[in-house]
């Protein structure tokens, strides 16, 4: 049974079809990498799933529930967690407060807390403890009280992942989580994603350019090219297939959507 699925999901900007009728299922307990050349529509596909962009046609279903008409925030509440390509935090709040806000937004009874006007924020020990736990998991406990804008880029990327962990979503979407990180920081973030993957109830979607990262993490690869889903299968087969070689190098424009058999 698929946890998340998109059916004929499309978006047109004027005459340009950025994502063209992508139908795809994502099973729990899997990590699917979405690859393709620049401008293939990977981030746009993400935006359609998470609701940052309204689809022109098609639907997004999570656990059998149609999310197509819901806003981005409602989709997050339904269990879609999304991290962003460009670091997107609350810059003038501390690291721990950033995470606490995500913990507060997480699914169990959180919105009741968010609308709580009359309790003191620091009294909610359980929020703080959970936030500290997550900061520990990303090895940032010593930087908890630092204002995010003053943290190095690598730490901000880690916080981006931590924030997603705090949401306790069932779908985790990472858009180039290692972008702009120094080589020695990359393994930390990959380790975090690997940890999330251990929970077999979740499914993880990963947009990534670095093929070694994809090879290491993914159970499955789908390839987007000019907005079309052009290949889908296990990593070894997809990477080896001629269509990916072609699409990835951007050598040929004449790709027709068809499936590489796994």
């Amino acid at each position: 049974m698929a946890l998340l699925s998109t059916t004929d999901l499309s978006i047109r900007f004027g005459g340009h079809v950025a994502v063209n009728a992508v139908t795809c299922q994502f099973a729990p307990g899997t990590l699917t990498a979405i690859v393709g050349p620049n401008g293939a529509g990977k981030t746009t596909y993400f935006n359609l799933i998470s609701g940052q962009l309204p689809a022109s046609s098609g639907s997004v279903t999570l656990d059998g529930v149609d999310l197509s008409r819901l806003s981005a925030s409602a989709r997050t509440r339904a269990g879609l967690g999304r991290a962003f390509q460009l670091t997107n935090l609350f810059p003038h709040l501390t690291a721990v407060e950033n995470i606490r806000l995500a913990v507060q937004a997480s699914r169990d009874g959180a919105h009741r807390r968010g609308l709580n006007l009359w309790s003191v924020w620091s009294d909610h020990r359980e929020l703080k403890d959970r936030a500290s736990e997550i900061l520990n998991a990303v090895a940032m406990q010593d930087r908890a009280e630092i204002v995010v804008a003053n943290l190095p880029h690598g730490d901000q990327r880690k916080l981006e992942v931590a924030m997603l962990m705090a949401l306790e979503a069932s779908v985790y979407m990472f858009d180039e989580p290692t972008a702009g990180m120094s080589a020695d920081e990359v393994p930390t973030v990959l380790e975090l994603i690997r940890k999330l993957r251990q929970d077999k109830r979740n499914t993880i979607l990963l947009v990534e350019h670095k093929m070694d990262v994809v090879r290491e993490l993914a159970d499955r690869i789908i390839v987007l090219h000019n907005g079309n889903l052009v290949a889908d299968g296990d990593p070894a087969t997809v990477i080896a297939s001629s269509i990916v070689q072609e699409a990835y190098l951007g050598a040929s424009q004449g790709t027709k959507p068809h499936q590489a058999t796994a």
């Binding site: 925030s73 009359w118 003191v120």
Partner: protein
């Protein structure tokens, strides 16, 4: 620690700031004894009123990042609520209460309407919409003279127990007569204190943190699952309620209200200046800002007169220091304070305490 609870775990975090706040607290608490003169007590009362008005605006601007020019509209609604109830229906406690309740309900409805219809648009458009609504409201208030008294406003009396002639104790205590005026001042003081503490609590609640998140990064707040429009609307409604109460305080003190007293755009600008000078997003900033501003507004002219007299030997300096130029000097003070304290006075003091 109880003081910490009272301040919602948001202590001043600077020794100098703590000292200033404590001093202001004591001065305002003892104002009727320290400065029993009518003018001095009016300055103190005006400070109390502005503290509430500015702090409520800080919830909106400093914590939620909403720029609204309709804040004095709610201030005016509060003042008119008291004025209309007491002048048209008669000066009883019941009418006073009804007037306040009506004003609060009207403010909630208006703030809800503005919020739901316009908080989805971009900040600059929202600011313009509020500007339009505020000037429409001001025009309405001066045109509907049957109800509001028009440009002349309304003079009214309050229940006897709040009148200056009403004596609670025969003999003055420490040279101060315990009159209705005295009691009114302490009602304002208690109301201001309670409302500042309430605002501190709100901005330090889980809700308040979501507001800050929205101010910092609206897109991400939405993406982690918060309904941004709903939070903004609630913040606008709350801020409108506190502004209405500030208006009620104003009417209780002046026993007069008119468009220039509570609705004018000049007051809106003053509020904006005070919140920036004091330090946005701190609540404490509105206390310090309001004191500085109201004192400067009230005494700068006297000070300038002294300076002008002293400089009578130098005609050009005397002309520059003429009391008529007080607005110029207030402007200079504002430019200097924004230049030297971009985070406001409270931000500057806190940075200093944190060793930045």
């Amino acid at each position: 620690m109880t003081l910490n609870r009272l301040l919602s775990d948001d202590l001043p975090r600077s020794k100098i700031l703590t000292a200033i706040l404590l001093t202001l607290f004591v001065l305002l608490a003892l104002a009727p004894f320290i400065a029993p003169g009518v003018n001095a007590l009016s300055v103190a009362a005006k400070i109390l009123i502005f503290i509430v008005l500015v702090a409520s605006f800080d919830l909106l601007l400093g914590y939620t990042g909403i720029v609204s020019f309709a804040h004095t509209m709610f201030f005016g609604i509060g003042a008119y609520g008291v004025a209309i109830a007491c002048s048209r229906w008669g000066a009883t406690w019941l009418n006073l209460g009804l007037g306040i309740a009506t004003a609060l309900v009207l403010s909630v409805l208006l703030a809800l309407a503005i919020g739901l219809f316009s908080l989805r648009v971009r900040a600059i458009f929202f600011a313009m919409i509020t500007l339009a609504i505020a000037s429409a409201f001001q025009t309405l208030a001066s045109q509907l003279s049957e109800i509001t008294g028009g440009e002349d406003g309304l003079n009214f009396s309050l229940p006897d127990m709040l009148a200056s002639g009403y004596m609670y104790v025969e003999q003055p205590i420490f040279g101060v007569s315990i009159s209705g005026r005295f009691v009114t001042y302490y009602i304002l003081f208690a109301a201001a204190l309670a409302m500042v503490l309430a605002l501190l609590r709100i901005v330090n609640s889980p809700f308040g943190r979501v507001l800050q998140a929205i101010r910092e990064n609206e897109f991400r707040a939405e993406a982690i699952g918060y309904r941004v429009v709903m939070y903004r609307t609630i913040s606008s409604v709350l801020s409108a309620l506190f502004a209405t109460m500030a208006g009620v305080m104003l009417a209780l003190w002046l026993r007069y209200n008119g468009p220039d007293t509570s609705l004018s755009f000049e007051i809106m600008l003053d509020v904006l200046l005070i919140v920036v000078i004091g330090g946005m997003g701190t609540i404490y900033g509105s206390v310090i800002g309001a004191v500085l501003f109201v004192v400067a507004q009230s005494y700068l002219q006297d000070l300038l007169k002294l300076g002008s007299d002293a400089a009578s030997g130098l005609p050009w300096l005397a002309a520059l220091l003429s009391p008529d130029r007080w607005l110029l000097w207030l402007g200079v003070l504002f430019v200097l304070s924004v230049y030297y304290f971009p985070n406001g006075i409270v931000g500057r003091l806190r940075n200093r305490a944190a060793g930045l």
